[in-house]
Amino acid sequence: MYIELKDVTKTIKGATVLEDVSLRLESGKVCGLQGKNGCGKTMLMRCMCGLIHPTKGSVSINGEILGKDLSFPRSVGVLIENPAFIDAYTGFHNLKLLASIQGRINDEQIRESIRKVGLDPDDKRKYRKYSLGMKQRLGIAAAIMEEPEIVILDEPINALDEKGVQLVRGILRELKEKGALIVIACHDKEEMEALSDEIYTMEEGRITGCLTVSTASQQEMEAEDET
């Protein structure tokens, strides 16, 4: 499984938000996107999951071009910007609605995903009553519940407490071990290094650098988590 971006340029209302981005991201890795606000991280993620189309260049998933051969990646879990769910439903009911479309997972698997992010699947509170952190956790649960081959998470640790951050680290580790291709964006440099295998730095819509994070430093962080 791989995502390949070839010379991707995106212009919105005359402004270039992505410029000549070329990348190849492979499964079994966590790829981080780092950069200041407005540098194009979210746009790049939207391109990768087919929500927006490049003005120039192409995005392909395993050789199939998005917008031409495919509308969206065949197996993708996405959390981009704020999670959006139906206010009047409980967390479980919201995920059940999403899961019912593909019909790949059963209720117990949905419950398990909710537990994984530290929420109670039997919580009767409606989504509108959720705190920001709970909403974020539910957004992550929605992205991972179907065990997709590609997971795209924009600022996954936003609004999360320390315990929540550790849960996310664990989830990403597990997904990686299962061979998923994970793309994350995070403004916290330390956290990014802890979570990612490769970090791409973005500036004004361009990729300006790539850093491979050493396993040693990650293991150090994992050890810290365990203690």
């Binding site: 919105i12 939207r46 999951c49 087919g50 929500l51 927006i52 189309h53 917008g67 495919l70 509308s71 969206f72 065949r74 993708v76 996405v78 981009i80 910007e81 704020n82 959006a84 769910f85 139906i86 009047a88 919201n94 609605l97 999403l98 019912s100 479309i101 593909q102 019909g103 929605a142």
Partner: protein
């Protein structure tokens, strides 16, 4: 059920739940929009019977004619004043408001996650088109139900128009008009036109923005009242401009054909545009 049909059924269920049940209050106003003119005609005919102007309470068709008659062709002269057909306009502008922004707003909410799981933009778009059709049917079903309630209270559930009521309160003569043709012009035609206009509005909402699409449709309806031309859709749904009511008016079969073409063209253009549409996180309008 194959996978595509299963996904399509789920999309429709979601749209009915989020686009209809969750917005139930929008449909409550439909009751008022139809009940107010029905109430006016009910009281008028009650007084008319007492004064001997008319002989019976209004029938179902009388109410429909009263609400959907529109205005005669306007010919601007120094002595004539243009009067906006308020009753008629409110019905269609409110329909535009109800149809308005849901399909696009849904994308800013859970619709985005749903779209990713459906895997096909075309299927999602067709699901929204079906919602638009259902929305127009529900809108008019509520309207017709209100009319039937008033007609039943007045004790005249007949589909036959009453010549005296239509002459006195709608300033029209329906004495020589076939009831079936008249009914088609005040039931089937408004529904088909409403569907076509809502589809056009949603397609415009993708290209422009929901609010601009709504305003554009409202302007088209006002322009339809002012200018008599078959190109402007509003002219097709003013009974006073139908061939049944005036020489040189628009025949119902032509209107039905035009609206069908407009609806299909809107679906196709919307489909083409939506396939390349950028889904960004916008706040619901």
């Amino acid at each position: 059920m194959n996978k595509n049909a299963h996904i399509f059924a789920k999309l429709i269920r979601h749209d009915l739940s989020q686009g209809v049940l969750r917005c139930w209050w929008k449909y409550v106003f439909v009751i008022f929009i139809f009940a107010v003119p029905c109430g006016v005609l009910f009281l008028c005919t009650k007084n008319g019977i007492r004064e001997g102007i008319v002989t019976s309470q209004a029938s179902v068709t009388d109410y429909l004619i009263y609400i959907l008659k529109g205005i005669r062709v306007y010919i601007p002269t120094p002595d004539t004043k243009f009067e906006v057909p308020i009753l008629w306009l409110i019905v269609y502008v409110y329909l535009a408001f109800v149809a308005g922004s849901y399909p696009i707003d849904d994308l800013a909410l859970s619709g985005q996650q749903i779209l990713l799981r459906t895997q096909k933009r075309v299927q999602w778009w067709l699901g929204k088109c079906l919602w638009i059709v259902l929305n127009a049917i529900i809108f008019f079903a509520i309207g017709y139900a209100v009319i039937i309630c008033f007609a039943s209270v007045g004790g005249n559930l007949s589909l036959k128009p009453s010549n005296d009521i239509v002459r006195v309160y709608c300033e029209m003569d329906v004495s020589g008009v076939n009831t079936g043709s008249l009914l088609a012009a005040v039931t089937v035609l408004p529904l088909i036109t409403a569907i076509a206009l809502s589809l056009l509005q949603t397609t415009l909402a993708i290209i422009l923005k929901p609010i601009y699409a709504f305003l554009l449709i409202a302007c088209v309806m006002v322009a339809s009242a002012y200018f008599f031309t078959w190109v402007l859709p509003g002219n097709h749904i003013m009974l006073l401009r139908n061939a049944l009511m005036m020489d040189g008016g628009i025949p119902t079969p032509f209107s039905l054909a035009y609206m069908t073409v407009l609806a299909l063209a809107s679906i196709i253009v919307g489909c083409v545009v939506f396939r390349r549409y950028d889904i960004l996180n916008k706040e619901p309008s």
